[in-house]
């Protein structure tokens, strides 16, 4: 991908400004249609999902009390991994988007929810809901593009350090929850100078993350392993029991990290996804914002189970268009959105999970090296153009 405005083949050249505003109106109509039916079905869905996840978690942790026995360890670890994935993706991410705020249930509300993840919900909501969803794929504004450690767009300047980015990406995938916590803290920027380091607001947020990580670690790596010690004692292997449960928690957290990292990579990095220039969004209209979300996201095709396990981020395009509609509706919304893409001859980027992950990784490898052709230099004589004006 490269910034849309500098592309040789412009994917929106055929759209007039009126077309773009019409796309916006048609998407607004889809939104209204689903707002009107939002209600009991969605409330039941999220409550049932929470109940299923909590039962699965308690059940898996109960099985892991017997972690000295290999079959129990395997079963418990699988269950706990699935439970953590559901908790983060279909439940946590979507509730924190305010998708279920309409229920006015203080227990299931974006202002009160906390999740099983290193990044405190409050900080994540700022960097994700406010920044990433507003400035999606705008180079220099959307830090999700490479998370500040990678080069994922030809237009981003290459440096020798980028040679290591496949390794960074893998390490980030394994430790994803801490990566996101560091990202929310903007660690790179905030540790860079003494003034920033000593900023009281930054220090408060740092303490908040510290507390969250401490509690998370004590839970997964101390309290639950300790609970399986009595069973271990009964069978003469207390250390094995402690280490077994500790290992199960480590595996479950890493599985969840790898899975969520992969799903999120599929959202914006695969081939065919567009990026945008910083100047292109000044004075952006609602239609143009919608168009940027349409071109800047990619879906994952798959079964219903795949959609649930990705927290419906497999419908990344629909999610970016309507981030506060209940995610379980995206499957119903998708055909209407797709029809709109076809009507306006736009590319609806989607593909199976494996293909999309491979495509994203291929880009990480490719862009570890400098561009083969030098990127077209920005001609400052030409004023920056908005998507709508590109067509003219």
């Amino acid at each position: 991908m490269t910034t849309l405005q500098r592309k040789e083949v412009n994917p929106i050249a055929h759209l007039s400004p009126e077309d773009i505003e019409q796309i916006g109106r048609e998407l607004d109509a889809i939104r209204d249609e689903f707002l009107a039916v939002r209600g009991e079905k969605d409330a039941k869905y999220i409550r049932r999902m929470i109940a299923v996840q909590r039962r699965l978690e308690v059940g898996s942790r109960a099985v892991l009390l017997f972690s000295v026995f290999p079959p129990a360890w395997i079963l418990g670890t699988i269950g706990l991994s699935i439970s953590k994935i559901l908790e983060n993706m279909e439940i946590g991410h979507n509730i924190l988007h305010g998708q279920y705020d309409f229920m006015r249930d203080p227990k299931i509300h974006s202002t009160t929810w906390e999740w099983d993840f290193a990044a405190p919900a409050e900080q994540w909501k700022h960097s994700h809901n406010e920044l990433h969803h507003k400035y999606t794929n705008v180079i220099g504004r959307d830090n999700d593009l490479g998370y500040g450690i990678m080069r994922v767009d030809e237009q981003q300047k290459w440096a020798p350090a980028h040679l290591g980015q496949p390794l960074y990406n893998f390490v980030n995938a394994c430790l994803f929850e801490y990566g996101i916590a560091a990202y929310d803290l903007e660690l790179g920027r905030n540790l860079s100078s003494k003034r920033r380091r000593n900023n009281p607001d930054f220090r408060a947020r740092l303490r908040q993350v510290g507390r969250k990580i401490r509690n998370q670690m004590l839970k997964d790596y101390v309290a639950h392993p300790a609970l399986s010690v009595p069973v271990g004692l009964a069978f003469g292997n207390p250390f094995g029991a402690f280490l077994g449960t500790l290992g199960a928690n480590v595996v479950a957290n890493v599985v969840r990290n790898l899975w969520s990292h992969s799903v999120i990579m599929c959202g914006h990095f695969p081939n065919g996804v567009e990026t945008f220039e910083r100047t292109s969004i000044t004075g952006e209209t609602r239609g143009e914002w919608y168009l940027r979300q349409m071109l800047g996201s990619a879906n994952i095709s798959g079964s219903k189970l795949m959609h649930i396990m990705t927290g419906n981020l497999s419908h990344q395009i629909e999610h970016h268009l309507f981030p506060d509609l209940p995610a379980s509706r995206y499957a119903e919304i998708a055909p209407k959105v797709r029809a709109l893409f076809e009507k306006y001859e736009l590319k609806y980027v989607t593909g199976p999970f494996v293909v999309q992950v491979a495509s994203a990784w291929a880009k990480v490898f490719r862009l570890a090296f400098p561009n083969r052709k030098p990127a077209r230099p920005i001609d400052h004589a030409v004023p920056p153009r908005k998507p709508a004006e590109v067509a003219a």
Partner: protein, 358 residues
Amino acid sequence: MAVTRTLRDGAWRVVELITTPVVPADYLDVIAPLRNPTVLRARIDAVRPETDNAVTLELRPGRGWEPHQPGQYIRLGVDVDGVRLWRAYSVSSAADRSDGRFTVTVNAVENGTVSSYLLKNARKGMLVHLDLPTGDFLLPESRPAKALFVTAGSGITPVMGMLRSALHELDDVIVVHSARTAADVVFGAELRDLAAQGRIRLIERHTRSDGRLKPAELADLVPDLFERETWACGPGDLLDDLQEHWADAGAAERLHVERFRPTVLVAGDGGTVTFEKSGQVVEAPGGTSILAAGEAAGQLMPSGCRMGICYKCVLPMREGIVRDMRDGTITTASEVDGDKILIQTCISAAAGPCRLDA
């Protein structure tokens, strides 16, 4: 014992650690929602139709419930089409029931989302949220020698709670009740039965045939009107008339009223309400309370009685102008003066742009 206490606290901290980042009760909620000590809920144990337009719900409250005083109301949180809506309902059962249950009687209100939902959908086993009983529409400890109850429509519910609890301590009771027709009288059979036994004097007024009750007519029906301690509950205009009548007679302190909902006197001009902490911006029309407008936009707001009496919904207004929907009083706040005026959001409508510290 300090030691057991320390041990118990320590054990509880371990349990909390095991369930972090949520609290242990969140897991308990999955299997035993009535056991949660921090969220008060009740299960509907029985549903009894009273009239075509009224239904009595027998509720079994969960942990944390405290028994009510006769005449008090509770707030019921009901999920209607997935959205939790809160409404105040008077307790209609006798106080201190040995089985710990209580009843509320819901009358269908015109265009009433919650009341019509409950009338149609309330079933045994359904879970509702609630608040502790509150309200000062009460009988005094020393029971009055002569009592008069003036009620209309659903206004009979708190009075029924009083009669069921304390009738045996009252010697001279008159109930003047208005309803559209004889069949619309909620608790009609029970009231007529009490009258037949001579325990109360019941005066039914059927407004469809006889028209609305005028306070002046009361003197004919009840000759010793102002000698009686009087409790009145019903529509706002009836209560207004009664209050005026009692005030004119210099007996205002003998009249106790319970209002169910604020009367909108003047539709304001409305305005943009900004919730500064959440960043939520809401266009609030003049006829809508700031509470309702905020909630409709997804702002999580403190709320209480929704009728302007409990002050649970107050939020500090830093700048702006609001109109009290009950009486039209204008309240202003100015940022320059460093104001943080607490306004009752449930009965305040925007009368211009407002910024709330919430």
